[in-house]
């Protein structure tokens, strides 16, 4: 008897985080594990005995396919930081007691940097105490900021949605350009890493000029220089479209969004909740240059738009989920599964495993040489890296005109009298 598998989801969701969950489930069943449990709301819910038997929800192959196309965390997610082992041993004793109670032999955690920190601590504790469970991290983040792995599942689909929306927003802006200059500023997720914002450059091609200016958080942002850039662009063209990361900041590290709001909140990891950069800068441009401006914040749409998921991304997320079970089944623990790029053209990838201690809490940002000299665009090398990841389309399963999702429970609605 191999015992059971438990899997959790943590951190910000993506369009394909459930495809990894589907991969975990399928491989675990195929490899002869008895049950696959899902933690509700990650380790936080699990510690309070919130979990489900996944086979009750994935009843057939169609459900599995629906799950692959369902955005956000099917199991629910959390932002919960485990204490260091020496700080609070009781937390760990509690978790391992529950794992034993459920006869868990494999623990998979789908998440980003903070989640890999959880895998690191749990696998360390297992080593210290001789516990039998294997702990494997499954990478996930639209931000693409995990070290070692070539890229993260979730990034390709968000990049595809962003590039598509950028094209459509540019179409929209171009339509209104007669004798009326207009500036559109798009705010894209990314606190410290500009991968997603850079992906807006994919919009450029035979049918679209792409954004005129692209600002990544890797480069200090200067509001005055920005205004001058826009002013000089408006001398030769009527429409200016700018994409920028929510996390752009000045050379002293002050976020541009802090110029305006004043009401920041922080999460359990000390991250500032960001918003308002685009609308602040749109106001500045409007005041300084007197032209029509529009701020577009892609908001949570960019991480939950499963209807625009990339096939490469959905398939890789699924494969990575399966590879986590395989790794644990073959004895690995304290590792994260990584994606290795085998070839650029034609694009091919495979999976590997990597020591989670070397990954946790290290952020991968866009290398300086993939950003242009001026700091307001990305290079061909950047585009060559991203382009394979947005290829292919997973048709949503349309029911009554809308994409169908797999759902655990539906809150009742009573507004229709």
């Amino acid at each position: 008897m191999k015992g059971n598998v438990i899997v959790g989801q943590s951190g910000g969701p993506t369009a394909v985080i459930n495809s990894s969950l589907a991969g975990v489930y399928k491989t675990a069943m195929e490899r002869g594990y008895t049950r696959v449990y899902g933690m509700r709301y990650g380790i936080q819910g699990f510690m309070e005995e919130q979990y489900i038997d996944l086979s009750k929800h994935i009843k057939n192959e169609l459900d599995l396919e629906l799950l692959k196309r369902t955005p956000s965390a099917f199991l629910g997610t959390c932002r919960y930081k485990l204490p260091e082992i020496h700080e609070d041993k009781a937390v760990y004793e509690r978790i391992f007691e529950l794992l034993d109670k459920l006869d868990i032999s494999v623990f998979i955690y789908i998440g980003g940097n903070d989640s890999m920190d959880t895998i690191r601590k749990l696998s360390d504790y297992a080593l210290l105490t001789g516990a039998r469970q294997k702990f494997v991290g499954c990478p996930k983040t639209i931000d693409n900021d995990l070290a070692i792995t070539d890229h993260t599942p979730g990034f390709g689909s968000a990049a595809k949605y962003i590039a598509t929306s950028t094209k459509e927003i540019i179409c929209d802006a171009m339509g209104f350009s007669y004798k009326k200059k207009n500036v559109t500023i798009m705010e894209i997720m990314g606190r410290n890493a500009g991968w997603l914002t850079g992906a807006s450059a994919l919009a450029a091609g035979e049918d679209c000029a792409g954004p005129d200016l692209i600002y990544l958080p890797e480069i200090a942002f200067d509001v005055d220089k920005f205004v001058e850039k826009v002013r000089s662009l408006l001398e030769k063209q009527d429409v200016v479209v700018v994409t920028l990361s929510e996390g752009i900041h000045n050379d002293e590290g002050t976020y541009i969004c802090e110029y305006t709001s004043g009401s920041e909140t922080t999460d359990a990891f000390g991250h500032i909740q960001m918003t308002g950069t685009a609308s602040y800068l749109a106001q500045v441009i409007s005041q300084e240059l007197g032209c029509k401006t529009r701020a577009v914040e892609l908001s949570t749409l960019q991480r939950s738009a499963a209807h625009m998921a990339s096939r490469v991304d959905v398939d890789e997320a699924f494969a990575v989920g399966g590879a986590c079970v395989k790794a644990a089944d073959e004895g690995d623990s304290g590792v994260m599964v990584v994606i290795e790029r085998v070839s650029d053209d034609p694009y091919q990838s495979t999976t590997g495993v990597y020591d989670v201690h070397r990954i946790a809490n290290a952020e991968k940002v866009v290398p300086r040489e993939w950003i242009n000299k001026e700091g307001d665009g990305v290079t061909e090398e950047f585009l060559d890296y991203v382009r394979p990841l947005i290829q292919g389309h997973y048709n949503p399963m349309m029911v009554d005109g809308l994409p169908r999702h797999l759902s655990m429970k539906v809150q009742n609605y009573d507004w229709a009298e």
Copy 2:
């Protein structure tokens, strides 16, 4: 010799406004007109001799299909109000001189209320002066606020995008609900008519609870009552999702967005540019109830998301464009083509023509009986009306991972060094 056709686009764009343009082009060619001209930037550009020969841009059937899938106004659009004839006759003399110069016998204008006003004035002037040109209006607006026609091309696709995004945003919000109540407020276009906001209710179904509260501009909005509603919902559930129209206002007619901004601008028709309602109310909820809030503004995405266009809508927009040419060819002038619903189940529609004098400047709002008693939701009748309009999907033509559009010119980009 039948002479030539000229077609223009006006007002806010939609995902399918170019499908109507494609319909005009195809039917005009088939009916033996020599040339189809396109006004650049509507009547405003045309008066300054900005026009193109469409056959130079639509070179084959593939181009025509691409045009049907291209969002925003291919020809460029404007918000330009013609003076009354008695106010400035010279403007009309100028326009008709140009029409004669180009040997125009049919003038088609694709637009909303304001554009039908243009058709009315031009056809009146032709009657007064005995000019030979026929003037036909082609309805278009995501707002669905045109009178007489059952619905307007553009509405169905925007409704489909909004319902899809609402589902995805609800998924996202549900994932984060563990011991942390959260309220999401989605702001949807619609100044005086709540058709689009009501369409968010389509998200509700077997896999999704749909929005908890839906506020249309047809009903006066009370901020205090709203806060109490949300408070009481949060007593029984962790996640509250609210959709509301940008145009909601209190019972004295003051827009909620005016509570905050102070920097409104108005267009040529005196419309206020609206934004900020959702973020204002999110701030109020956060202060009053102390929970996590998020404001999502769908912005121009909702009118330009051709990648989520409804097949019914694209096909009807195409048919309506063709019907405009047919009407003019058969002698109609001063009319708008309307969509008539022949049957609800199975859904069938046809086109008719209607005197533009009875349409211009009249706004069709959501009837009171299609809004629930409380004024915070829509009824089944509303849903039965909208549901057929979001059916079916037009697959985008994907090139290198992104939807391909037909484009007239591409501004050069130089950020890639």
